[in-house]
């Protein structure tokens, strides 16, 4: 399925950071959702800032507009504040994109677990992310770090518990 660009994507002012505060807020909100939906579509979990500049998200060749590096940083900062982004290094060159927050993932996983009546069972992480049973699920193919965080979130909610097993980590759902 091809990605559906939002109307702002073809609106040239979208690529200029607006000085008017109200306008800017709306603009940034639109950017955040664009970045997230794009990453979700492509199942991207990490982004490199320099590469991002050339990525179609920030660079619309059709209208010959692209977001400046400063503006990209502003967008990323906005995402970070919302909890959707985490910097991997101090230099802010690479980041984790969480187009779904760990809590949200946890919820999905738990829903699947309970829907299939598998509460009180133990799963390995691999089973969850790459098992045949979860193929149709959104969290299939979830990267380990994200899976871990999601399960940790569930653990914090008291809905799961992480267990260490001989050949890796596992989780038990309550």
């Amino acid at each position: 399925m091809s990605f559906e660009w939002p109307w702002q994507y073809n609106f040239p002012p979208f690529f200029t950071l607006q000085p008017n505060v109200d306008t800017r807020q709306k603009q940034l909100a639109a950017w955040c959702s664009l970045v997230l939906s794009f990453c979700r579509h492509r199942k991207l979990y990490t982004l490199d800032v320099l590469e991002a500049q050339e990525s179609p998200v920030f660079n619309n060749k059709k209208i010959e507009r692209k977001l400046s590096v400063e503006a990209i940083q502003v967008v990323f900062e906005e995402l970070r504040k919302k909890g959707n982004l985490e910097w991997l290094d101090k230099n802010k060159s690479r980041c984790l994109i969480m187009w779904r927050r760990p809590e949200e993932w946890g919820k999905l996983i738990y829903q699947w677990v309970s829907k299939n009546g598998m509460v009180n069972s133990v799963f390995t992480l691999y089973e969850l992310s790459n098992g045949d049973d979860t193929e149709k699920e959104e969290f299939h193919g979830l990267e380990d770090w994200m899976l871990l965080r999601s399960l940790q979130a569930l653990q914090a909610e008291g809905k799961a518990e992480m267990i260490t097993m001989d050949d890796g980590k596992g989780v038990k759902f309550f």
């Binding site: 002012p13 008017n20 306008t23 507009r65």
Partner: protein, 360 residues
């Protein structure tokens, strides 16, 4: 070489040299150079030549005034003859005669020590020096130049005196103003107010606050009223708004003489509101100052700006200016204002700055 002969006594003044200056006739002994006698030329009444003859050398006879009382000691205290004869034994008589004639004509000893007085400009005939040729023309020009110089200095003498007086007056008024400020001296409230109003009418701004636009000097008030009349028509032509620089150029071009200084213009414009004139001075965020008609409504302007931009999809400041017949500066200000209000948004790229309707 001559011999100075005296009919009475053959003195030892025999062979020497006669010397002629502009003032004196001198004779110096050839052998004894320290022996030197002279006669002032003013003593000479008359002189004549005596041609040479056989056995006689050419002579010049010089008839003299009687010796004055305070005559310098000479070879003879007195003599019964009133003339001397110069005997030119060798030659030089003709030349000498000629020169003596010249000197006697010119009578240099009669000139006063100071040079001719410079003629003043009083009367057309005063001090006319005889002048011939280029030298004469030059002299005339020089004379004229000096006259002009003098006239100018005289004229400015009054002005500099006036300036000095004015300075004194300003000092006085300043000191009084300070006294008012410090409430030193016995000045009542009434008097203070009266004095202030005097100062105001003289054109000195309120001495206490130092802010001229607050108090408004009489000049600025008058000027503001004049501007109010003058600018109505041009403002309406230009859509109700003009930058202050445009106003400055317009006003000064119209005045021709007695041009306004930028400061005066600004101060006058600041008085528009307090004088209830239908104009306003307005300062944009960027610092641009404009004069606009009071009737000018900003909302209308912005609404129409939005319409224009929506119409054309997007506009740059230049395009907008062209569309409305405004200056680019004003057009940009209007677009920026619309952006500030949230009606427009901007697209800043290598192509330039463009404004779009705010669809966000």
């Amino acid at each position: 070489q001559t011999a100075l002969q005296s009919q009475l006594l053959k003195a030892k003044l025999d062979v020497g040299v006669v010397l002629l200056s502009t003032h004196r006739l001198l004779w110096r002994d050839q052998k004894n150079h320290e022996c030197c006698i002279c006669i002032h030329l003013s003593q000479i009444i008359f002189f004549e030549e005596q041609a040479a003859g056989i056995g006689k050398s050419a002579k010049i006879v010089i008839h003299l005034h009687p010796a004055p009382e305070n005559k310098e000691p000479g070879p003879y205290q007195h003599s019964k003859y009133s003339f001397i004869k110069l005997s030119f034994k060798e030659h030089g008589q003709i030349e000498f005669y000629r020169r003596l004639t010249e000197e006697m004509t010119q009578k240099h000893w009669e000139n006063t020590p100071v040079s001719q007085p410079i003629p003043t400009g009083i009367g057309p005939k005063a001090g006319r020096t005889r002048a011939v040729g280029i030298v004469g023309i030059e002299r005339k020009l020089e004379k004229k130049r000096k006259e002009t110089d003098k006239n100018i200095s005289e004229a400015f003498e009054d002005l500099s005196k006036l300036m000095e007086k004015a300075k004194e007056m300003v000092e006085v008024s300043k000191s009084i103003a300070n006294k008012i400020k410090d409430k030193q001296g016995d000045i009542t409230e009434d008097e203070t107010i009266r004095f202030k109003s005097y100062l105001l009418s003289m054109g000195i701004a309120n001495p206490v606050t130092r802010e001229t636009h607050g108090s408004g000097t009489k000049y600025h008030i008058q000027l503001a009223k004049q501007l109010g009349d003058m600018l109505q028509a041009p403002l309406e032509e230009r859509g109700g708004m003009m930058t202050l620089t445009e106003v400055y150029c317009l006003v000064n071009r119209a005045r021709g003489m007695e041009l306004l200084s930028p400061e005066d213009l600004v101060n006058a414009c600041k008085l528009f509101e307090s004088l209830k004139l239908p104009l306003r001075l307005r300062v944009f965020d960027s610092g641009v100052m404009v004069v606009q008609l009071q009737s000018h409504s900003e909302e209308e302007m912005i609404a129409s700006a939005l319409d224009n931009v929506s119409d054309k999809g997007s506009l740059t400041a230049e395009e907008f200016a062209k569309l409305l017949g405004l200056s680019v500066l004003l057009a940009k200000e209007r677009l920026l204002l619309a952006e500030k209000m949230g009606h427009l948004c901007r697209d800043d790229s290598v192509e330039g700055l463009r404004f779009y309707p705010n669809l966000f």
